[in-house]
C-alpha cells in the first residue's frame, strides 16, 4: 500500500490487517512510556485546509507514539492565504522530504491529486464530502472490540448523509466487513441514488429497533441556513437518537463532535450503549497502524501486500 486515499481501495483483507496491527499498538497506549521507535527518523506532515482539532491531534499523537517527527501545517495564517495553490504548497512542503503527508481539505479527490504531485505517502484525512478512510477504519476497529465481529450486523447510519464523508467511507467499509448498512435521514439530506453503494435507504426511524448498531452523524448548523431542514427542533423530533429510540442491546456510535440535544440526546451520549470515547481512543492506534503500514520499510524491501503482518519493534 503506497497511500491511503479511499476505503474503496481497501479489500477486506487489507482492513483486517490494519485493524490487527492497531490491536497490537493498543498495548503501547497502555504503557507508562507510550512510545515505540518504529518510525524513528521519519517525518509526517499534517497538512490541514480545514479546521480540525480531533483528527489532527489524533494523527499527531499516532505519529509521535511511533517516534516520527511531526510538522503541522494549517492553511489559515499560511502561504495559502497569500494565494498559493494546493499544488505549489505541496511542492514547496515536499522539498522538506516528508515521508507521509496527512491531508485534510474541503475538496473531493484532493488527496488523490496530491499523491500524483509528490513521492510521500498520502493519507486522506478527509477530502470534502467524499471520504474519511481512517474514521471508517477506527469505527471498524471499535466495533470489533465491542462486538467481536461485524459479519451479519445491521448498521444504521442516521442523519445528514449528503454532506458526510464519514457516511460514505463507513457505508463501504462496514459492507466490506460483512455488515448490512441502512442509511436514514430527511429526504433532503439523503443523496439520490446512494443505493448504488449497496445500502438501503429509510426516511424514518420506525424500524430502528432492527439495528445492531446506530451510527449517528453530526447535524451541522450551517445546513440550517442552507434550508436543508425546516428546523433543528423538527429534525430532533424525527431523527434524534435518544432514550426512547435506543435499545439496550444496540451500540451507539458518533464521529464527533456531538451536538448534544440535536442528533443525540444527552442521555444517549452518556449511555452505556455509546462507544464515542472508545472511537476517539481507537483513532490513535488505528492511525498508528496506518502510518506503520505505509512507512515501515517503505524505502527498504517490503513484505508483499498480502504477506504476513510485520510485527512492530517494541521498545
Amino acid at each position: 500500500m503506497n497511500h491511503l486515499l479511499s476505503v474503496e481501495d481497501l479489500d477486506r483483507q487489507a482492513i483486517e490487517r490494519i485493524v490487527a496491527q492497531a490491536a497490537r499498538f493498543a498495548e503501547v497506549s497502555d504503557r507508562e512510556i507510550k512510545k515505540v521507535p518504529a518510525l524513528r527518523g521519519r517525518m509526517v506532515l499534517n497538512l490541514f485546509y480545514e479546521a480540525s482539532t480531533r483528527t489532527r491531534s489524533s494523527f499527531e499523537l499516532a505519529a509521535k507514539r511511533l517516534s516520527a517527527d511531526v510538522v503541522n501545517f494549517a492553511a489559515s495564517g499560511s502561504s495559502v492565504e497569500k494565494g498559493e495553490s494546493l499544488k505549489d504548497t505541496v511542492l514547496t512542503l515536499s522539498a522538506h522530504k516528508p515521508d507521509a503527508i496527512v491531508l485534510r481539505t474541503p475538496w473531493a479527490g484532493a488527496a488523490e491529486l496530491v499523491s500524483r504531485w509528490c513521492s510521500a505517502a498520502i493519507v486522506n484525512a478527509g477530502d470534502g464530502k467524499h471520504e474519511h478512510p481512517t474514521q471508517a477504519l477506527l469505527d471498524v476497529y471499535t466495533l470489533r472490540r465491542r462486538l467481536g465481529g461485524i459479519d451479519g450486523l445491521s448498521i444504521w447510519i442516521v442523519g445528514d448523509v449528503a454532506h458526510s464523508r464519514v457516511a460514505r467511507s463507513n457505508i463501504i467499509a462496514f459492507q466490506r466487513m460483512g455488515a448490512k448498512v441502512t442509511v436514514a435521514g430527511p429526504p433532503t439530506l439523503i443523496p439520490r441514488e446512494i443505493e448504488a453503494l449497496g445500502c438501503e435507504v429509510r426516511y424514518t426511524l420506525d424500524d430502528l429497533a432492527s439495528a445492531d448498531v446506530v451510527y449517528a452523524l453530526r447535524m451541522q448548523r450551517e445546513r440550517m441556513s442552507e434550508k436543508w431542514v425546516p428546523s433543528l427542533r423538527e429534525y430532533a423530533a424525527w431523527y434524534q437518537i435518544n432514550g426512547r429510540r435506543l435499545g439496550p442491546r444496540q451500540v451507539l456510535m458518533h464521529p464527533g463532535p456531538v451536538n448534544r440535544g440535536v442528533e443525540l440526546s444527552g442521555e444517549a451520549v452518556d449511555s452505556p450503549q455509546a462507544v464515542i470515547a472508545a472511537q476517539v481512543e481507537a483513532g490513535v492506534v488505528v492511525r498508528m497502524a496506518v502510518l506503520y503500514e505505509l512507512l515501515a520499510g517503505r524505502h527498504a524491501a517490503r513484505a508483499p501486500l498480502d504477506g504476513p503482518v510485520p510485527e512492530p519493534q517494541l521498545a
Partner: protein, 447 residues
C-alpha cells in the same frame, strides 16, 4: 439592416488540385472519387479521378485513400477574447478550429468584459479581421453583463454584426426577462440561443446528480435543471412565435421537450456536444477536472438519447462548446476547477471513432450534423459544389492518433479526450477559399 457575416483575417485564395480524393457531401449527394480543382478559392471543377491536369501555379495534392468533406461549422465556441487571452485568443482559437477541420465558428459573448455593446462588438470584429484564421461570427449578450436584468441594445448589436444573442455560461433565469428578448427579436431578428439551467436546481453542483455524484460526495446538478428550462422556454417561444436555439443539450428529457416543441411547429433547434455524445458521469469518477463541464456529463441513458436525437435530426447539429482554461486553473481539486473542455481539435476524430466506427451513426449523417450549425445562424452551409467557395477538409479516416500527442493548436490543453486513441486525422482545411491548416507532417507534391 446589413446581413451579419463572418469575419476573418487576410487570406490569399487557394489554387489547388486535389487528386483522386473520396468526396463525401451528403447534401450534394456526392459519395465518389473525384479530382477536385480549386481556383481563386472556388471549387472550379469536380471530375473523374485522374482526368484533371495540374494548372500552372497550382499546388497538387495526392489524395488517394483520403476523404474530402465539407469543412465543419461550429456554432458554439469560447475564444476568450477580450479579457481572458491567457486561455485562448482569436488567433489560437481559430487555429484550433482549422486543425479540427472547421471552416467557421461562432464565438460566445461571455468574455471579460461581456460583449453587450455595439462598440465592443465592433472592436472585436475588427480584431477578428486581423487575427482570425477561419471565419468567425459573434453572438452578443441577451442581458447587460449577463446580469439577467436588463436587455442589451439588441437592434444596435445586430447592426454592429451580431449573428444572434445568448447569455451562454448562464441561463436567462427570469422568464419575464427572456420574454422581453423574444419580443424584441421581432424588431431585430437574430437567433436567441439559450444555455438552459435552473440555478435554483443546479445550485453549487459540479457534476450530474446520480450514482456517481452520490458515491463521490460531490454536489450534483439534476438533469431536470436543464429539461424544465427547455420546456419552459419552448413554451415562451411558441407564445411569442420566436426563434430559439437550445445550446449543448445534455439529457434525455431535454431532447424529449425539444422533439415535442418541434412536433408542434415551434421554431426551435438544438445542438449537442461531442463530449455529451461520447462520455458519461462514469468518466467523472476519477475527478479528472477535464471531465468537469456545464452542462455536466450525463447518464448512459442520456447519452443514448442524445445520439438517437442527433441521428433522427431532433437535435440539429454538433457544437463543441470549446471552452479553454489555463493549466493552473484546471490543475486544482475538482470542485474548485472551472467548467469546460476544449473540443475543436478532437470533435471529428472523437465522433468518427465513437459513433461512426461503432455503427451508431453513418458518416454522411455525421458530416451533415457537423456542418448544419451554419444554417442556424442564417449562414450558407458548407457544400462541395461547383462555383462554391472552398470550405473543405481532407481527412485520412484510417489514420490513428492519440488525442493531444502532438500538442494542441489551442492555447489550452483541457481536453476531455486527451490521451485517447482515435481514428480520422485532419490533413488539410480550406475555409472561405484559403488553405488555413496543413497537418505538419503532411507531404505535398510540389508543382
Amino acid at each position: 439592416m446589413p446581413a451579419a457575416a463572418l469575419v476573418h483575417g487576410p487570406y490569399s485564395p487557394a489554387e489547388l488540385l486535389l487528386r483522386d480524393v473520396h468526396v463525401r457531401d451528403p447534401r450534394a449527394e456526392l459519395d465518389a472519387r473525384r479530382d477536385v480543382l480549386v481556383r481563386g478559392g472556388e471549387i472550379a471543377e469536380l471530375a473523374e479521378p485522374g482526368t484533371l491536369a495540374q494548372p500552372e501555379g497550382a499546388e497538387a495534392i495526392e489524395g488517394e485513400g483520403k476523404h474530402l468533406l465539407p469543412a465543419f461549422f461550429d456554432p458554439h465556441v469560447h475564444l476568450r477574447t477580450p479579457g481572458q487571452e491567457h486561455k485562448e485568443d482569436l488567433h489560437s482559437g481559430t487555429r484550433a478550429a482549422a486543425a479540427g477541420g472547421f471552416g467557421g465558428v461562432v464565438a460566445m459573448p461571455n468574455t471579460d468584459p461581456v460583449i453587450d455593446s455595439p462598440a465592443l462588438l465592433g472592436s472585436l470584429r475588427d480584431v477578428a479581421s486581423r487575427e482570425a484564421v477561419v471565419p468567425v461570427g459573434f453572438l452578443a449578450a441577451i442581458t447587460r453583463g449577463l446580469g439577467g436584468e436588463e436587455l442589451t441594445e439588441m437592434a444596435q448589436l445586430r447592426d454592429a454584426g451580431a449573428l444572434g444573442f445568448t447569455d451562454d455560461g448562464l441561463p436567462v433565469a427570469s422568464a419575464g426577462m427572456l420574454r422581453k428578448a423574444l419580443q424584441y427579436q421581432r424588431l431585430c431578428g437574430g437567433v436567441i440561443s439559450l444555455h438552459e439551467e435552473d440555478p435554483t436546481l443546479s445550485g453549487a453542483g459540479c457534476m450530474r446528480e446520480g450514482p456517481v455524484s452520490a458515491a463521490l460526495g460531490v454536489a450534483g446538478i439534476p438533469s431536470v435543471s436543464e429539461s424544465t428550462m427547455v420546456a419552459r422556454d419552448a413554451e415562451l417561444a411558441a407564445y411569442e412565435n420566436a426563434r430559439v436555439h437550445f445550446q449543448h443539450l445534455s439529457c434525455a428529457a431535454s431532447v424529449e421537450a425539444l422533439a415535442h416543441a418541434k412536433e408542434r411547429g415551434v421554431k426551435v433547434s438544438g445542438e449537442v456536444t461531442p463530449h455529451h455524445l461520447l462520455l458519461t458521469d462514469e468518466h467523472v469518477r476519477d475527478l479528472d477536472t477535464r471531465m468537469k463541464m456545464n452542462p455536466p456529463l450525463g447518464s448512459e441513458e442520456d447519452r443514448r438519447a442524445l445520439i438517437e436525437a442527433l441521428r433522427a435530426g431532433v437535435v440539429d447539429c454538433v457544437a463543441t462548446d470549446h471552452a479553454p482554461h489555463a493549466r493552473e486553473e484546471k490543475e486544482v481539486p475538482f470542485e474548485q476547477a472551472p467548467m469546460g473542455t476544449t473540443g475543436l481539435e478532437t470533435a471529428f476524430p472523437a465522433l468518427y471513432t465513437g459513433l461512426v466506427l461503432t455503427g451508431a451513426l453513418d458518416l454522411g449523417t455525421l458530416v451533415a450534423r457537423m456542418t448544419a450549425g451554419a444554417a442556424l445562424y442564417g449562414l450558407p452551409t458548407p457544400t462541395i459544389a461547383l462555383g462554391r467557395p472552398a470550405n473543405l477538409t481532407l481527412i485520412d479516416l484510417d489514420a490513428e492518433l492519440i488525442a493531444g500527442e502532438r500538442g494542441w493548436e489551442s492555447r489550452s490543453e483541457n481536453c476531455c479526450f486527451a490521451g485517447r486513441p482515435l481514428r480520422g486525422r485532419v490533413l488539410l482545411t480550406l475555409a472561405a477559399g484559403a488553405i488555413v491548416y496543413r497537418e505538419r507532417v503532411f507531404s505535398v507534391v510540389a508543382a
